[in-house]
């Protein structure tokens, strides 16, 4: 056996890649996990995690040089001084925007699992049935019941804290104890829940921050510095969770600096036999061989790898025979919500920095309601007191002004919508051979935008937030809105959708590429619709389910 031969190859080391590596190695497969970027070692390489705010030269802000170096990342909060090294270089890895599309990437071991928002929600039956009922795109080949046991399984291992709220739109899970709402959130929640008679509910966020210890991990310390990397391993990341488990099996090899350029397809067996890797440091090319390949490079890069593979058989790449590879690119559209001030809690505060907020599950177009758009949206938000640094109207300068700065400010409460984006065939990505990245590889062009359905939904997203906040007694409520550029949600989905028919889908119900059954795509690329819940928990469940199927098929000799 050549040293480049394994039982399984996993492309990518983020949330879904880490899960693939864990599941496959625990089932006894010798596995290599290929990561295009550098290694980041748990705790040791979280270089800023224990710095106090005053220890950052610009107190966490952004310099002009940073905005020049990161022309895409600068469009949103992601560009900052504290975890700059966790974001991929826009200069080294450019892409072409046919229409504006934000693409925020993590090119290192752990991928975006280090910087993710950690909100973790199950999908419900209504989400898996939506395409079929609306006659949109194609039907999901699976239903909630297919994924439910796998949700429970991944929740138990990853550690999700949340309350069992008993809502059919947002199934309860295998939760650790929930975090607590503060006094304003509790009162607002009680008013919303009673006023809307259970149709609208405000609950505490369900988050992949653990509230009880797990092996090798300490419960959340309420630092709210998650995206610097957690020295306590208190939130789910590849490093804190799946990687140690996979390493413990003795079956895992991790190879950083490994850009997978294509999947090696054997047309005689109609299977992949391995992958080609470009070493990002040396520019040398290597081949690795395995019985199965898991593609977990993140939605758009997974599409890139497939489109760059087996082009001698299919010009559009591996999985393109359906005509759907690269198409149906989706994201959650956001940037619309409302906020205001809350009176009457001046003597109350909170202590500790809770890295979590409140959640309002979808309530539109359910129970027979029909808006002038289909599907719906959820809200994330929270209440807090403005801290020092705020404007103090009574004193503008001087000693009293200085003293007033150390008093807590007004209570404010806000919420922002996360809206479902429909799968449009014409929203797509493709390889632009004319533009190359730092390694001479052709880059992606992205051509995707929200349409009428999303635009109409965004009107409700603003108005409903305002209505609920005002009903709950929040004052001076203002609606904020934005254009709704896709990619900004950092929830890229689609491009290699699952389905029941190889003519209309790239993957089957087990995430296998129809055209190469030993290739599994289990990251956001596999999604057929987006629902409005944060998607990562679904990727985890989908990956564990697919890995189980892969090993079982391998044992049966089917792949």
């Amino acid at each position: 056996m050549s040293t480049n031969t394994y039982d399984a190859i996993v492309i990518g080391s983020g949330i879904s890649g880490g899960w693939a590596a864990k599941e496959l190695t625990e089932k006894g497969l010798k596995t290599i996990m290929l990561e295009r970027g550098r290694n980041i070692e748990h705790v040791k390489d979280y270089v800023n995690a224990n710095k106090a705010p005053w220890e950052f030269t610009h107190r966490g802000g952004r310099t002009v040089q940073m905005t020049k170096d990161y022309p895409v990342l600068k469009r949103d909060y992601a560009l900052n001084e504290t975890n700059l090294d966790y974001w991929a270089s826009d200069k080294d890895s450019p892409y072409v925007e046919i229409k504006p599309f934000d693409w925020f990437r993590g090119y290192h071991v752990g991928g975006k699992s280090l910087m993710w928002g950690r909100q973790s929600y199950r999908w419900a039956d209504v989400d898996f049935e939506a395409n079929a009922k609306d006659g949109i795109a194609i039907d999901w080949p699976i239903r909630y019941k297919d994924l439910a046991p796998w949700y429970s399984y991944v929740e138990g291992f990853a550690g999700i804290s949340g309350n069992k709220d008993g809502l059919s739109i947002l199934p309860d899970g295998n939760f650790m104890p929930p975090m607590e709402m503060n006094c304003v959130e509790k009162d607002v929640a009680a008013r919303i829940n009673s006023h809307y008679k259970g149709i609208r509910n405000m609950i505490i966020g369900r988050t992949a921050n653990i509230t009880q210890p797990l092996p090798g991990r300490t419960n959340c310390q309420y630092r709210n510095k998650c995206w610097l990397g957690c020295p306590f391993g208190a939130y789910f990341s590849t490093q804190s969770s799946t990687l140690p488990a996979a390493m413990a099996t003795g079956n895992l090899t991790v190879r950083p600096w490994s850009i997978v350029t294509r999947i090696l397809y054997d047309k005689d067996t109609k299977r992949a036999k391995g992958v080609e890797v470009l070493d990002a440091e040396t520019n040398k090319t290597y081949e690795y061989y395995a019985k199965i390949v898991f593609v977990n490079a993140s939605t758009l890069n997974s599409a890139w790898v497939l489109m760059n593979s087996a082009t001698d058989i299919w010009p559009g790449g591996l999985g393109s025979s359906s005509g759907e590879l690269g198409h149906n690119l989706m994201d959650h559209h956001l940037g619309v919500g409302a906020g205001g001030v809350v009176e009457g809690y001046d003597d109350k505060y909170y202590f500790g920095r809770r890295a979590n907020g409140i959640y309002i599950p979808r309530f539109r177009n359910l129970n027979g309601e029909k808006r002038d758009y289909i599907r719906g949206f959820g809200y994330q938000g929270g209440a807090g007191r403005e801290a020092w640094g705020r404007a103090i109207p009574e004193f503008s300068i001087g000693g009293q002004f200085k003293d007033a700065l150390s008093e807590p400010g007004e209570w404010t409460m806000g919420m922002g919508g996360f809206g479902e984006t429909l799968p449009y065939h014409e929203n797509r990505t493709y390889i632009d051979k004319n533009k190359k990245d730092k390694w001479g590889l052709p880059v992606l062009a992205i051509d995707a935008t929200i349409k009428d359905n999303e635009k109409k939904m965004r009107i409700d997203m603003g108005n409903d937030a305002k209505e609920m906040l005002e009903m709950a007694g929040v004052k001076n409520v203002h609606i904020y809105t934005s254009e709704g550029v896709l990619g900004r949600g950092i929830h890229e989905m689609g491009t290699a959708r699952m389905g029941r028919d190889p003519k209309t889908s790239v993957l089957n119900e087990w995430n296998q590429v129809w055209d190469a059954k030993n290739v599994f795509v289990t990251d956001g690329a596999c999604m057929v619709s987006t629902a409005c819940q944060n998607p990562s928990l679904t990727y985890m469940a989908m990956t564990a389910r697919a890995a189980d199927h892969a090993v079982s098929e391998l044992k049966k000799g089917n792949i």
């Binding site: 310099t63 505060y349 300068i397």
Partner: protein
């Protein structure tokens, strides 16, 4: 080699910072990456910061060296056009204490300095550049103060590792020195 370059090189030889004042006798200049600041300008920014966050029975802007923070932020984080507006606005600002008190800001008493700055807190028809200058100095002074180690450890309680979330916490327990959480 001109005199300024010579002195800068000398500073490197000595191992000193690049911030060594160059010498033009009356008004030494400090070189930053994107601009130079002379001693009068430095004094003005420091005096304004001290007027906004004065030393009382607790430290003020000068004690906390907020001047260095303000200029560092201006140098690294402000766009070129904003830096230009800052210095243009500063030039215009200098006329204000002359007009009001017939002297420079440096020669004004604390009370006079306060009244000069207070004119910015009311509606007025100052130029865009002048407002940009004042708002930058004030904003960075307050930001630097509230993000200083002194403020975050002695004025309020910042714990790197709170270890708990107390959702009902009385405001009266908030001040430094009170047992929290």
């Amino acid at each position: 080699m001109d005199r300024r370059t010579a002195i800068r090189n000398l500073a490197l030889v000595i191992g000193g910072a690049a911030l060594l004042p160059a010498c033009t006798k009356q008004n030494p200049i400090v070189n930053y990456k994107h601009f130079d600041i002379n001693i009068d300008q430095q004094t003005l920014i420091s005096d304004m910061a001290e007027t906004i966050i004065p030393k009382t029975n607790t430290p003020g802007a000068t004690d906390l060296n907020l001047y260095s923070f303000i200029v560092k932020m201006l140098d690294d984080c402000a766009k070129k056009e904003d830096q230009q507006a800052f210095f243009k606005g500063m030039g215009e600002f200098n006329e204000l204490p002359q007009k009001l008190f017939n002297k420079s800001f440096a020669d004004c008493s604390n009370k006079e300095r306060e009244s000069v700055l207070n004119t910015f807190e009311k509606k007025n028809n100052y130029s865009k550049d002048m407002l940009a200058f004042y708002n930058t100095v004030k904003g960075l002074t307050v930001f630097g103060y509230t993000e200083s180690k002194y403020f975050m450890t002695k004025q309020v309680v910042y714990e790197l590792v709170p270890g708990r979330y107390n959702a009902y916490f009385p405001v009266k327990n908030l001040k430094a020195g009170v047992k929290n959480g």
